[in-house]
Homo-oligomer: 233 residues x 2
DNA sequence: ACCTGAACACCGTTCAAGT
DNA sequence: ACCTGAACACCGTTCAAGT
């Protein structure tokens, strides 16, 4: 690989929106529609150009490349995350509602699953959330690097738990699919492991959503208990 | 979307390896080389065909499509994860070394970052690890669904923490890159948030690896403490 | 049974040329 | 300053045809 400087959309000036026609905002809005309607494969520079009644290559005036566009889009997901003031409700309640809110934000923008953790999150919305988390954990009593570690731990858990949830939903979701067939398939794969088999057969394939939610709760509780424990030492 | 049954390579018979020439194993081995050497973009059906001195389309005899090939490759990552017997070292030590081993496995196959959580993990290696985790947590005292939840929580944490680590390494790694320039860039983005700025300026851009490792420790400790707490109630 | 090349329907991106 | 179409260098996959 040749030497190439680190870059991000957020570090470059946006082209001024001149005519009523195109602008970064317009492009992002249209791209968002494409993604939310058709999923990740719905977004190509060509399709996006068409939707905006423009040549695909016109977009390159506003955005350096597709990755930059994705950075822009990624930040929109962070806009859907809401934070309750830790000074009002306490850090733990604040962390809990934020975690749920993060999970919800990803679930409602499934196309973002492939972006999380792979794109720098330096957009204004991401920074705002990061800053709120910082306040939250400082309020809890963390100091120095521990504050950063707590932030990283919480986001890692939420994203790590939610991304597979999306994969599950998109393979099974919006499609004629028989939960029984699914169960049987997994059971077949796990045939050699009696303990796993047992679990597969009872793990609620009829209501996977409910089980997922329970799992999220369980892990979140553990996570927060563990962080609280750090404060005690 | 039309109705399409759930499918996975692991649920279909493999074509028999006949001649010394090609087989699923040969293909996977060659693909693995491509990925480890050139990264995710190094793998295309055409390049893989060329490497095997075959037409790109020959591969479709052994593998239904690229996604199936990726499933096969993904399972190889799980092969690198090692588990210590919880009956010998205790569940917590076993969980700790497994967590490190999982992190290490992903770090040494960075191309897998994009696959984790998005592909079903039904391969023999993945199942073996999953089963070991089950033993581990049962030994710890978990029962019923809680065992599954503990497994999900631990893997979510490890993957959620490690994937961004890879992203960081591949944007900055193997490339002329100035940590100071990087720091300055992030600082610029965070300009509006004094607390974040402060943290950015001390967060060890000279030795990001060390800081990452500390963060992983911190979170893992929290996670396991939290799980232990579940057992007490 | 196994392999092939041609062909189809796409991609992201560059760039000279237009207004 | 902004937009264009043509062109380049790729993709995954299907399929009729070959051995």
């Amino acid at each position: 690989m040749s030497s190439k400087a680190f870059s991000s959309v957020w570090l470059r000036e946006s082209r001024k929106a001149t005519s009523p026609g195109r602008s970064r905002e317009e492009i992002v809005r249209a791209a968002l529609e494409l993604l939310d309607e058709e999923g990740p494969s719905g977004l190509s520079m060509r399709k996006l150009g068409a939707k905006l009644q423009a040549g695909a290559t016109s977009l390159y005036w506003y955005v350096a490349n597709k990755d930059e566009l994705l950075e822009l889009l990624y930040d929109e997901v962070w806009a859907d995350m809401t934070v309750q003031d830790p000074d009002e409700v306490g850090w733990r309640a604040s962390a809990t509602t934020l975690a749920y809110s993060m999970r919800q934000a990803i679930l409602s923008h499934p196309w973002a699953a492939g972006l999380i953790g792979r794109l720098p999150a330096l957009g204004p919305n991401a920074l705002h959330v990061a800053n709120e988390m910082r306040r939250m954990f400082k309020r809890a009593g963390f100091t120095g690097l521990d504050t950063d570690f707590a932030i990283a731990t919480l986001t890692a858990y939420v994203f790590g738990m939610t991304i597979p949830e999306i994969a599950w939903k998109t393979t099974t979701g919006n499609r004629e699919y028989d939960p029984e067939e699914m169960r049987a398939a997994v059971a077949q794969a796990a045939a050699d492991y009696p303990d796993m088999l047992e679990s597969v057969n009872m793990a609620g394939y009829e209501d996977p959503q409910a089980v997922r939610a329970m799992a999220f709760d369980f892990g979140l509780l553990s996570m927060l208990d563990g962080l609280e424990r750090r404060l005690a030492t």
